[in-house]
Symmetry: C2
Subunit: 393 residues, 2 copies
């Protein structure tokens, strides 16, 4: 829905293989040959594309082939959870060059956690033999609400000490590159959208782990909402949870009856050794009927809320991820049952409901997508972020 | 979130008064003076802007002032409901030059209804002394789901004979101008968004009339969804309606217990003379306690669904319109009660819940906004629509 022909968009055509010669770029954008030449020369000077090889000739000298140079820079990405994190260095196509999974305690506060993140990034950079000046951008996901334009967490319930901390500014200054910070479920949604083929315009990603959250891709872009609070499906109040107290302080939240924590508590109450959502998944994988039944019922309850979202947002795709989604088809079966029963026929006509294809790598994939799209096509992100680049360059 | 500097965007700066000299346009867009000159000359040649008067001088010859010429063309707009319609000719600022409200029966089918629409447009054009060649665009709202890119209704429940009928193509050919067709609630949402000051990025418009529907402005744009079915809040299933049959064939829909038709039936069952939602509103306006109580309870039920939408979409503004919303503050009070009780604190921190400021003119205002934005800044709409202009020019 936007104009074509900016350098970022020309680069997009080349990256996606949609136009690989100067003629093809001119044809796809409607720009004059001379304009195309100027913009491509600029991309070559920036090292972002190279021009070589031969395209199939249509007579005369074969045209040179334009290729995206995925090694023109690297991005640093981190998906920080409550108790563990995943960090990586990727090239500009999002391919990991070095990656590490670590235990960490997000509740230790920003100083301790970001110090660790910086040390891990330094170590990962070392293994790739790329100096710090190769860093084009940084993408970070954290387990709480984020004011995206400012790159700060906002009253995050499980991140004591992080409220208002300038995550973006600290990492941006440390590595001399623009930094983008978002909620962990939002970056998982970006990751699933980035790898989906064909890429749908409207995708709802639902994470069912200890808690329940969602990330919304609407009309091709992540929808963050007025306070960055969009996607908060876990605290939607449902009839089945009436009177049940939630960790958020409210009663009747979906998460309080269908989240992994709630499932573990329910099963523990019946004598099972389930302390966490992973225990529930293990039990279900071992064929425990009560665990399977509990997961399926959780799926139905989540599905009832998703059914409303399907009527209201009319997406092409729902992707279900998180620990509990790894319990085979049980969660998905419950979700599908409720969605197809309770949504309108028109809205489900072409709807696909699937499990995550990226699993626990959805977060860093999305963080890379967010950082790379920012570097390569900055017009699609906030102007405030461009300022960050200038401030740290 | 898109590039600046296209002719449509330069025109936008001038229309909104954000840049009224060539220098100011160059400053706001970052374009070269010569590029700005070329684009402004083109807009002047098209008659869309004029250049005259004097801006405050900063020394030397005073710069000429650029002004949007709202009379460069007219748009034809119609908001077609089940039993009545409103049609208008407006200038390019959306100001009505002639307007008429008519009774019509949408169920009479597209031939009869569009014949009438064409005759009304001809008559309205006559009164404005503008010939048919002044028509820049046409905007139409219809009471059913629409495939926006094709300009056709899709299985509309209360529009027999309209499924797949080429509304857009017929009117476009008849008046030699591009035509945009959308759902009636979507155009009402566009209308409320168009007049809101300041204009929020995220606005949910809810229409409570005979039925219940909504239109979603997300990140500044109308969200239509994969099948154009987005906003279908009326057929969200709710616990309070379990077992109640809805006109859609499903059970438990919000509309089946909280729509104007349902309210009329409920009150009639208790001996009131309420055949339609307007009767319910009249009764409430006369102070009938039972009618007031029924409207307030309907508000609570609608509010429960809106509370989920607030958590999930995190809008700045909810605007409530439609017949039943005209029943004073009763409906709004019930909606607010449920939304503030059931949404998260973060999502309601800055949320405004208000009644429509446009009332029964929201639809034509939005139809005008849709048509005018298309004419003046076509890059924000589908490329398929641009083709329509070429086809009929």
């Amino acid at each position: 829905m936007r104009s074509v022909g900016t350098p970022g968009e020309i680069l997009g055509l080349i990256r996606r293989g949609e136009a690989t010669t100067r003629n093809a770029v001119a044809g796809a954008t409607g720009l004059a040959r001379s304009t195309v030449a100027g913009r491509i020369d600029r991309l070559i000077a920036d090292g972002l594309i190279s021009e070589d090889g031969d395209a199939p000739s249509t007579g005369g000298r074969p045209p040179a082939l334009l290729a995206f140079n995925r090694h023109a820079g690297v991005v640093l990405v981190a998906d920080l959870g409550a108790t563990h994190g995943r960090l990586a260095v990727t090239d500009l196509a999002g391919e990991p060059m070095a990656e590490v999974a670590v235990d960490l305690d997000i509740a230790a506060g920003p100083e301790a956690v970001l110090h660790r993140v910086e040390a891990e990034f330094d170590a990962l950079l070392d293994t790739t033999n790329r100096g710090g000046d190769a860093v084009s951008a940084i993408g970070i996901g954290v387990p709480g609400p984020v004011e995206f334009a400012a790159g700060r967490a906002v009253n995050p319930p499980i991140m004591p000490g992080w409220h208002g901390y300038p995550i973006r500014d600290r990492l941006s200054a440390r590595f001399g590159a623009p930094c983008l910070v978002d909620n962990d479920v939002n970056i998982m949604a970006l990751g699933e959208h980035w790898v989906a083929a064909p890429r749908p315009d409207n995708l709802l990603f639902v994470k069912v782990g200890t808690g329940i959250g969602s990330g919304l891709i609407l009309d091709g872009c992540l929808h963050r909402g007025a306070q960055g609070a969009a996607g908060d499906i876990g605290h939607v109040q449902i009839a089945a949870a009436e009177g049940v107290l939630c960790r958020c302080g409210n009663e009747g939240c979906l998460e309080a009856v269908a989240g992994g924590r709630a499932l573990a508590d329910q099963l523990a109450g019946r004598g099972a050794a389930t302390a966490t959502s992973r225990d529930v998944v293990r039990l279900a994988a071992a064929g425990d009927h009560i665990a399977v039944s509990a997961i399926r019922e959780a799926g139905r309850r989540i599905g009832r809320v998703l059914a409303s979202m399907v009527n209201i947002l009319n997406p092409e795709s729902i992707v279900v991820g998180g620990d509990v989604a790894e319990a085979g088809e049980h969660l998905l079966a419950g979700i599908r049952e409720a969605v197809y029963r309770r949504s309108t026929a028109l809205a489900t006509a072409h709807l696909r409901v699937t499990t995550s294809t990226l699993g626990d790598r959805a977060g860093i994939t999305g963080a890379a997508a967010m950082a790379i799209e920012h570097v390569l096509d900055p017009i699609v992100v906030d102007a405030s972020l461009l300022a960050a680049k200038g401030a740290t360059a």
